[in-house]
Every structure is written in structure tokens, then in C-alpha cells.
């Protein structure tokens, strides 16, 4: 219940962000960065649920919901990277590279790739075939999430 409320709040925040003017977005930079982190953590948790199913620690229904959520959150990715929201997350470990905006087309292409792999993961989860799921999970992780992190995420020096 609580997590669905959080999701609802996140969704609302994203929706507001999407329709607002660039001026308002600039003002809301801090909020966007928070939303960005929340979205990434949500996706990480979804991947964790799928892995949990692979390891017999979560059931198929949970993995199906997680894979479905991955597809939905991939669609929201551009909303949490509006122009003018460069800068590190709360832990200061990572920041988006300038290429997110200077090479926005490629950024979206990476998103599309990841979204396609999330679709494939959902299809695999629905079959219940663990070998297929493992392959789709690794493919999304390495060639979806990891590929984008490699190209568009900066690891900051402390």
C-alpha cells in the first residue's frame, strides 16, 4: 500500500514535470534529480524482484509486475532528464554526462534499446522458463542499463 502510494506520488510528480514549462523545470531542478534517483532505484528494485524469482526467492507474479514496471519506467526516463538538470544525485557518486543533452538522440536510442529488452524480459518472465529469463535479465542489465550507464553516466571522484 505504502509503496503504491509512493509510486502514485512519483507518477504525479513526473506528470507535473512533463507538462510544466522549462522555467518551472529549472526551478524544480532539485526535485527532478530526486525523481531521477527514485526512478533508478525503482528500476533497480524491479531487477531485484526478477532476480529474486530466478533465485526462487520471489514468485512469478512479483517478477511479472516488476518487468511490467520496468517497461513503464523506461517510458518515463526522458521526463527525469529535462535540460538544465545536470548535477550529481544525493550520494554524490554519479552524475549524468553532458552527452545526455548534447547527444540526446543517442540517449533516447539507448532508452529505446533498454525498453525493447524490458519487453523481452517480461515475455520471458511470463513463460516461466528460468533459462530464458536469465538470458533476458542479463541482456537488459548489460546491454540496456549497463550500456546507458557506460555512455551517459559519470562516476564522480571523491
Amino acid at each position: 500500500m505504502r509503496s503504491s502510494l509512493t509510486l502514485l506520488a512519483l507518477g504525479a510528480a513526473l506528470a507535473i514535470g512533463a507538462v510544466n514549462s522549462p522555467t518551472a523545470l529549472a526551478v524544480d531542478k532539485e526535485q527532478v534529480i530526486k525523481d531521477r534517483e527514485a526512478l533508478m532505484k525503482e528500476q533497480a528494485s524491479d531487477m531485484g524482484s526478477v532476480k529474486g524469482y530466478l533465485d526462487d526467492k520471489a514468485d512469478q507474479a512479483k517478477a511479472t509486475a516488476a518487468a511490467t514496471d520496468l517497461i513503464q519506467t523506461m517510458g518515463k526516463l526522458p521526463d527525469v532528464f529535462p535540460p538544465g538538470t545536470e548535477g550529481p544525485g544525493s550520494d554524490g557518486k554519479y552524475a549524468p554526462k553532458p552527452e545526455v543533452w548534447s547527444d540526446g538522440k543517442d540517449f533516447l536510442a539507448h532508452r529505446d534499446t533498454a525498453a525493447g529488452k524490458a519487453e523481452a524480459l517480461l515475455a520471458a518472465v511470463k513463460t516461466g522458463d528460468k533459462a530464458n529469463i536469465q538470458t533476458a535479465f542479463a541482456d537488459l542489465g548489460k546491454n540496456g542499463c549497463g550500456a546507458c550507464h557506460g555512455k551517459f553516466r559519470e562516476e564522480l571522484k571523491k
Binding site: 531485484g48 532476480k51 535479465f137 548489460k142 549497463g146 546507458c148 564522480l156
Partner: protein, 304 residues
């Protein structure tokens, strides 16, 4: 038999536990059980795939053929053109003797006595067993010969880069084949061997001294100035600075799929490494995890 995976798909076939385990044991005890010995080409293919030779020695961006080299590789020692490893006699290594190959792999010296820059990680291959070296050569010899005119064995010609490389190599201990520690479990020894040789974790994760040699006191302790000028994490079992709160399964998962315990998928240089480690057998990944959990924990200087 299929105990020596060579491709991405092979992670599955390596679940053939009996075969893979026998295979791992064979690597440890080179003289054991000749009857069950998988063939040298297959063993070499497994090692070459896990070492990721192909990543540098294929000019994939320009449609180059596998292992035929030609990739322009920027490095701290200048830009190098990777050599052709296929058995073409004129432009590859088809004319090399076993001794030539061994000298190049262990000491970074080409048959024409020129020296490779340490982007070619011979300081790690220095520690490979004779048998693994000979199996890798057998595998490379089994590849289709590709003629790729151009630099075959040359590295950077920049004088400063050469000098720095030479100093770093002279300062780096090159003790030769890795010797197992009889007091430790076989799995620990296997992990230590993989980390010291084809895994070459220390290439990035161990900081260098001023001379460019790995700092033995800071083994795998990470650095804020890795080979690409990037921050490289501490992977010793320190609870705060390192990965002391990771268990064996967490490390195996990272090496398999590239995700941390909180399901962050690594990108960049480590993502390239995961391509290699995902080709290892499950047993070999676990051996690396067992070993990494055992190295001395080091705090990060900046966190003191």
C-alpha cells in the same frame, strides 16, 4: 566435449558442472588425469574468451576480422595499433615458435626484440602456467589466418611513452608462473590464479607507484586515478571503503550479469570486463569471489 566455453552462450553449457569442475581441477594440476584432458584448442579458447583477447585484437568498429588486430587503442603510453593474432605468417603470428609466443606473453618482447607497451597486460600473463600459455597458442593457431597488412607487432613510437613504459615494466615484479599455495583450498588457489593472470583485476583496481608499478601495499584498494583517469573502486573486503558487505554470491552475480547487490548495473570499463567474466564457468567466478573475500582489507586513504 563442451567443457570449455568460448562464446557468450556458453555460460549455459558451463553449467555442466561435472565437466567444468574437472576442467577447473585440470587447470590447477597440469599433470593430472591425462585421459580426461579436454583438447588444448578448447581450453585455449576458454582462456582467450575469458581474458577478452578479442576485445583489443579485433577492429570491430571498422569491420575487422576476429583476432586480426588493427584496433587503434588509446593508452596512457600513447595510441597503439593492436597486432594480428591469427596464424597468417606474414602479418600475424603464424611464424612464431612456442618460445616466441611464450616470450611475448610473459615478458612483452616480440620476436624482433621490440617491446610491447603494458596496455598489453603481459605483466599478468607473466604468471600464466606453461600449459595455459601453450593452449592459448593452440587456440590462436586454430583460427583462420587473416592477412592484415600494417603494423604487426609495433607499439607506440612516442619516445616519452616508451620510456615511461620501460620504467614501469622494470619496476614491476615479474616472477613467472603463479605458484599455488598448498596451505589453501583448491578453490582459493584457482581464484588467486585467475585474478593474477587472465582476470588482471589489479590492472585497474590496484593503484600504481610513481614509477608506474602496482603498489603491493594497496593491492586491489582502488584509486581515484585509474588507467583512464577515472575513479576505480576498492574491491578489498574493507566494510566501509571496499566490498566487505558483499558476500560471495554478490560477487558472483556481478561477474555474471554486471549488477551490484543493490541492482545497479555497472557501465564503462567494468561492463567490458563483465563481458569476459560472463564467459567464465560458474565455478571459476565463484573461485574469484572466494579469493577476493580473502585479500587483506584496505581502507581508502581519503576516508581515513
Amino acid at each position: 566435449m563442451a567443457a570449455a566455453p568460448a562464446t557468450e552462450n556458453s555460460a549455459k553449457s558451463s553449467r555442466n558442472k561435472g565437466g567444468a569442475l574437472a576442467f577447473s581441477l585440470l587447470l590447477l594440476t597440469a599433470s593430472a588425469a591425462p585421459a580426461a584432458e579436454p583438447d588444448a584448442v578448447a581450453r585455449g579458447a576458454y582462456l582467450a574468451a575469458a581474458a577478452g583477447c578479442e576485445q583489443c585484437h579485433t577492429d570491430a568498429d571498422h569491420g575487422g576480422q576476429r583476432y586480426a588486430g588493427g584496433r587503434q587503442l588509446p593508452s596512457e603510453f600513447g595510441t597503439i595499433t593492436t597486432p594480428n593474432l591469427t596464424p597468417d605468417r606474414a602479418t600475424g603470428i603464424g611464424g612464431w615458435s612456442d618460445a616466441d609466443f611464450s616470450r611475448a606473453m610473459r615478458w612483452g618482447i616480440a620476436p624482433d626484440d621490440s617491446h610491447y607497451v603494458p596496455s598489453f597486460p603481459f605483466v599478468f600473463y607473466n604468471r600464466l602456467s606453461e600449459r595455459d600459455l601453450s593452449d592459448i597458442k593452440a587456440f590462436l593457431g586454430s583460427l583462420p589466418a587473416v592477412s592484415r597488412p600494417g603494423l604487426a607487432g609495433a607499439g607506440s613510437t612516442a619516445l616519452l611513452a616508451r620510456a615511461r613504459a620501460a620504467i614501469a615494466v622494470v619496476a614491476t615484479p615479474l616472477p613467472g608462473p603463479w605458484q599455488p599455495d598448498p596451505a589453501k583450498d583448491p578453490i582459493w588457489n584457482r581464484g588467486a590464479y585467475l585474478v593474477a593472470t587472465i582476470g588482471r583485476c589489479g590492472y585497474c583496481h590496484t593503484p600504481r607507484t610513481l614509477l608506474g608499478a602496482p603498489d603491493a601495499d594497496r593491492f586491489l584498494a582502488g584509486t581515484s586515478a585509474g588507467p583512464d583517469g577515472k575513479k576505480v573502486p576498492n574491491i578489498t573486503p574493507d566494510g566501509k571503503a571496499g566490498i566487505g558487505n558483499w558476500n560471495e554470491d554478490d560477487i558472483v552475480s556481478l561477474l555474471t550479469d554486471g549488477h551490484t547487490p543493490d541492482f545497479d548495473f555497472v557501465g564503462g570499463a567494468m561492463a567490458e570486463v563483465i563481458k569476459n567474466t560472463s564467459r567464465l564457468s560458474e565455478e571459476d567466478r565463484r573461485a574469484i569471489a572466494v579469493y577476493l573475500r580473502s585479500v587483506p582489507a584496505k581502507s581508502s586513504p581519503e576516508q581515513k
